[in-house]
Amino acid sequence: MTLSIEQRREHRLTTIEKSLARRHRKENGFRRLGLAAVLAGLTLVTILFASILTKGIPAFWQATLYTEIHFDPEVIDLPPAPVREAGETPYAFNERHTQWMTQVGLVNWQSLIDASLERALGEEVEPRQLRDLRALVASGERYALRDRFIADPSLLGDTVTIKMLAGADVDVWVKGNIDRDLPDARQQLSPQSRAWIDVLQDEDVLRQSFSTALFVNTDSRSSLASAGLAGAFMGSLFMMLVVIALSVPIGVSSAIYLEEFAPKNRLTDLIEININNLAAVPSIVFGLLGASIFIGYLGLPISAPLVGGLVLTLMTLPTIIIATRASLRSIPPSIRQAALGIGASRVQTVFHHVLPLALPGILTGSILGVAQALGETAPLLLIGMNAFVANVPGTPLEQSTALPVQIYLWQGNELRNFFEARTSAAIIVLLGLMLSLNALAIWLRKKFETRW
């Protein structure tokens, strides 16, 4: 029995239709799967950002006291600041100056703060309540007051309105981050301190103000409310300078050599495989290496941004080499052939023709590599950069922390109520830096991009 032409066509059509429907179904299924994956990813990122932002943004504002400080000459009983006399040796002047500074340090600056708070509260505070009173102000403020006086000794006798950070517990209380219904025994602040906070808030002496401390201060343990990111920021900056100064030239040069000049043989194959392997080595391994070689063998200082930079350079190099090679490889061979054809040497070909075209890719790769190094924490813990440092480093050889490490340290602080928000604020700062670096990479790529 044979089918007519009509029937066979019919049969063919149904087969095609069936298979078409099946293929469409498959395609739709795959699309939906892909869309679901993207949505799931986006949701997770949104949740992450929402939680960091809601926790961190309030920390950019901090409970601050605006009180009138009277630089009482009875308390600040000091000789005038030494001025260098004609004929005095620098050493002798230095001696006199140190002596004066020591005297300044011995002044009871805290009592000036106590007195100003008493005036603001409008009541005499008994000595036994002094502890409750002092809990209101960040303990580091007395040094800020001292430094202000040293900078301007003519303040003596004046009454000036000064902005002082409230204590960390006060900030927590004012922001409502602690359950106000908890019994006294479970509160950080005494009932007296809490009553005073209400008074000061009513008088608008205590209010939320943008926290410059977060940006200009270093980490602090004795005056928790004053803890800031300045030291960590400078540490990260020095490290990034070291990373950029070392990894970009070394990485780009070795990539150019490997891609454009090196003969293709077993040795270069081996090198290539190992560079790819290095890119996959966990960063903590570089930390161990750094600790034993840079600190143990070369004798570089512990906790120094220089060592951190060197370790991160090792980590960033493979990334930059791979990115640079990829971007060199994407330049059409016709460019090279054309240059060679009109008589350019190989070096001229590379530097005059290939490299400018590959620049956007190289820049993007380098910036992303550096951004990755900026966020790296693990290797830094092993070279002592997780130490508590209360100085802003002036050189890459001075002890310092780094931004991601500071986040790690704050996350571990005992005073959870205060530092949870502070940690998120630091994360926002770090994320902001990363995003601006990435934006710079995109901008550079767009700017130098050439189309054929």
Binding site: Y257, L310, V350, A387, F388, N391, G412, L415
Partner: protein, 338 residues
């Protein structure tokens, strides 16, 4: 050729920079590392020290646990080794020996106060009244029953004693890199072991491995996070940490005594330990401010009653003890390996 030359020159410059910096290095900042229990105290002192003495830099304080700090301390003498190791337990003779092998012979021990170890649970959970015996029974690998040692059968606190709440046993303790672990064993597990009887010596230290004991290698924040995740857990904390987190934690009594500055200071609360730091004698005349820092730390205004360290949860030493420690330091009395 040009490019290889460039690569070479970059490498040479980098090497030169590295070498030059190593030679130019002269550290004028005190470097400290060690116990995470001591870290908050040492950091406060470091900061106040830097603020008080304008001629010295603020010391740098790292963590790493008592053992980690002492290991770094014993790496040798020189500017790239630390000057002070913080410890929440006394130095071991094995550590003194390893120090000696690396040329660190002048180890000066400085005790600066006490810290209590408390058992705490979440505020929304049951209250605990513990004794070392209860804790031992909850934590041990094997307990005696009917004259025989059997694998620990307790899964619920109320099985150990009727006075304890009906709650699954989960105990979060510091891992062995912490000095606190040693105190936990010596002051809680060993007395508990003795009062149960039938087990002796090192066998007391065998803790159960069925997941009811959780060891934390990080700091107390990690222990707290564990309690947040596992609401029936009981955690081991330092008194100062508990003090800062009273709005989340409730503390268990030990032998009926509630831990506080007073009960630990008087010795009524049994689980407390002295805190130390070790100064490298070889560095005393090299690193500026090292001796001043130590004396500043021992100053009554800093670590005495009513001092910033007491506010931070340290239990101060009494006058006699303080004078003794200070005298020890001034005469540069060195720790020796027994």
């Amino acid at each position: 050729m040009n490019v290889t030359k460039k690569t070479l020159s970059v490498a040479v410059v980098a090497a030169l920079a590295t070498g030059a910096s190593a030679a130019a290095m002269a550290r004028d900042t005190i470097q400290i590392a060690g116990s995470s229990t001591v870290l908050p105290f040492a950091s406060i002192v470091a900061e106040e020290f830097g603020n008080t003495y304008s001629q010295f830099n603020t010391p740098v304080v790292g963590s790493g646990g008592s053992s980690g700090g002492l290991r770094q301390f014993c790496q040798g003498v020189g500017e790239n080794t630390i000057d002070i190791a913080n410890a929440s337990r006394p130095i071991r003779s094995s550590e003194v020996e390893s120090c000696g092998e690396n040329g660190v012979n002048e180890i000066i021990e400085v005790k600066f106060g006490y810290d209590g170890i408390v058992f705490a649970s979440r505020l929304d959970q049951n209250e605990f009244a513990l004794t070392p015996e209860f804790v031992f029974k909850a934590a041990a690998a094997q307990v005696p029953q009917d004259g025989q040692l059997v694998d620990n059968p307790y899964t619920n606190w109320s099985q150990i004693d009727d006075s304890l709440p009906d709650q699954e046993i989960t105990l979060v303790i510091p891992a062995s890199n912490h000095g606190t672990r040693e105190v936990f064993e010596e002051r809680v597990i060993h007395p508990g072991c003795e009062s149960v009887g039938e087990i002796e010596g090192d066998a007391c230290n065998n803790l159960r491995g069925d997941g009811r004991i959780v060891e934390i290698a990080g700091d107390y924040t990690e222990t707290l996070a564990r309690l947040d995740a596992q609401d029936n857990a009981v955690g081991v904390f330092g008194l100062s940490f508990y003090d800062q987190n009273r709005d989340r934690l409730q503390v268990a009594t030990m032998d009926g005594v509630t831990p506080s500055l007073e009960t630990i200071g008087s010795g009524e609360y049994p689980v407390s330990r002295p805190l130390y730091f070790y100064v490298k004698g070889e560095h005393l005349d090299v690193i500026p401010g090292l001796a001043e820092y130590t004396e500043y730390f021992l100053n009554d205004m800093i670590s005495g009653f009513g001092s910033p360290l007491e506010d931070a949860g340290l239990i101060p030493m009494d006058e006699g003890e303080r004078a003794e420690v200070l005298e020890n330091f001034e005469s540069r009395t060195v720790v020796s390996a027994e």
